[in-house]
Symmetry: none
């Protein structure tokens, strides 16, 4: 694929600062990124403040998409990385932007940034396959949103334009493969199906479903399955449903 940066969306979840959104638009244009998606923005992202900060990137603001929730922003994406300030019980280590972000290049993909004050919720984090933390001091680890976006866009642009990657890629082998991976909708379809079956067999109960399902989401997200593998997994679920129904009829 020869899409480089053009397949990457920058997703801001509930941004509250118009100055931030304007600055994000500017640095996106500086760094060759075009698709801005705002999940339920809590500010006037087309107003004067945002436009002043965007300077010559008003077009990025004008064509920004607004959606009501993170899954809507991810439709069609194959890869998603979330940025986070802390490891809030995530099962994997947080990765460095330089190591993780190149994985987004050449794919329909998303880089997700949380709210200025509270970041992303745990359930939002679950939509991502990998997690990035921008290195910073313990004294004051929390970066301004627009500066965090700037650093990530800079890393993406450098990687996209610097084909002379002198250092061996740190991307783990199985992420480097050309094998097509299941889209996030296909995965979501599997999770919904899994949850249905687990409720049916009383492995899950409605009040425990969410937290338990979180664990399975993380496990399968880590495996980064192919569409064929998801089809196999759903085949098991259908067969379980069939076996239960059949026995019930006897």
């Amino acid at each position: 694929m020869e899409m480089g940066l053009s397949g990457i969306r920058i997703i801001l979840v509930e941004p509250a600062g118009p100055l931030n959104v304007g600055s994000v638009a500017r640095v996106m244009k500086n760094m060759g990124l075009e698709q801005l998606i705002l999940v339920n923005p809590r500010c006037d992202y087309l107003g004067e403040e945002a436009r002043n900060m965007a300077v010559h990137a008003g077009d990025i603001l004008d064509k920004a998409q607004v959606v009501p929730s993170l899954p809507d922003a991810l439709v069609g994406c194959q890869r998603a990385i979330a940025t986070t300030a802390q490891n809030r019980g995530l099962p994997t280590n947080l990765e460095n932007p330089r190591n993780a972000l190149p994985w987004l290049l050449d794919h329909p993909s998303a880089l997700i940034f949380g709210r200025e004050d509270r970041g992303l919720t745990n359930s939002e984090l679950n939509y991502a396959q990998r997690f990035v933390r921008i290195p910073s001091t313990e004294v004051y680890p929390s970066l301004n949103l627009a500066q965090g976006v700037a650093i990530c866009c800079y890393e993406l642009y450098q990687e996209a334009t610097q084909n002379l990657r002198q250092t061996p890629s740190l991307t783990p082998n199985f992420f480097c493969t050309d094998t097509p991976r299941a889209s996030l909708e296909i995965l979501e379809g599997y999770y919904q199906h899994l949850e249905d079956v687990l409720l049916k067999i009383e492995y899950l109960y409605p009040h425990t479903a969410l937290r338990r399902m979180e664990k399975f989401r993380r496990l399968y997200n880590r495996a980064y399955p192919t569409p064929e593998e998801v089809a196999l997994l759903r085949g098991i679920l259908r067969q379980v449903e069939w076996a239960i129904a059949l026995k019930g009829e006897k």
Copy 2:
């Protein structure tokens, strides 16, 4: 010398935007830099707008030094790098931040940023020994001042803290986690159990079992599960066995 980041001054020449100066203070603190010098500032860098953007880095603003000209800001420095958007007749090539900035570490040194609108004059550029240009698109090369500072501070911080950089680990970050992973016996126990259940529900048949199970082994091996996760997966299998048995008894 063991001064790392502490000898580096960030110099802003005639900054006009208080929001920019506040944001610069914030990212300096994020990235472990402390000395801010303002050359003839054209804004209220201690006012409300600057402080709002600085958030928890008001101390960097409070102790910022103000001087009338660039040479005053450079007194005592051994090394100086200037940032610039274009090569305006400079005698040397512009360098990438990643290549040039580490040279400032461990020395009394300066990183110089020009005016928001016009950058640095030629005579100001002459005070620097090296010149950095942040890579950006031709369509819109000019970065916001605070975002440019953020990118440079990030590069400095990464270089200062990543002393182990000479041997890039080939182990991806997310495998380096301290979380204990399931032993091979534990995994094998799961695969046997999975195979049993899949045969029972007639998803597998004896003659297809081996090849199918290979696919599941690969999938779960890639996810590199913890013992807890394997326990959850086996819990599902037991519950499937229970559901089938129960229905069969009805």
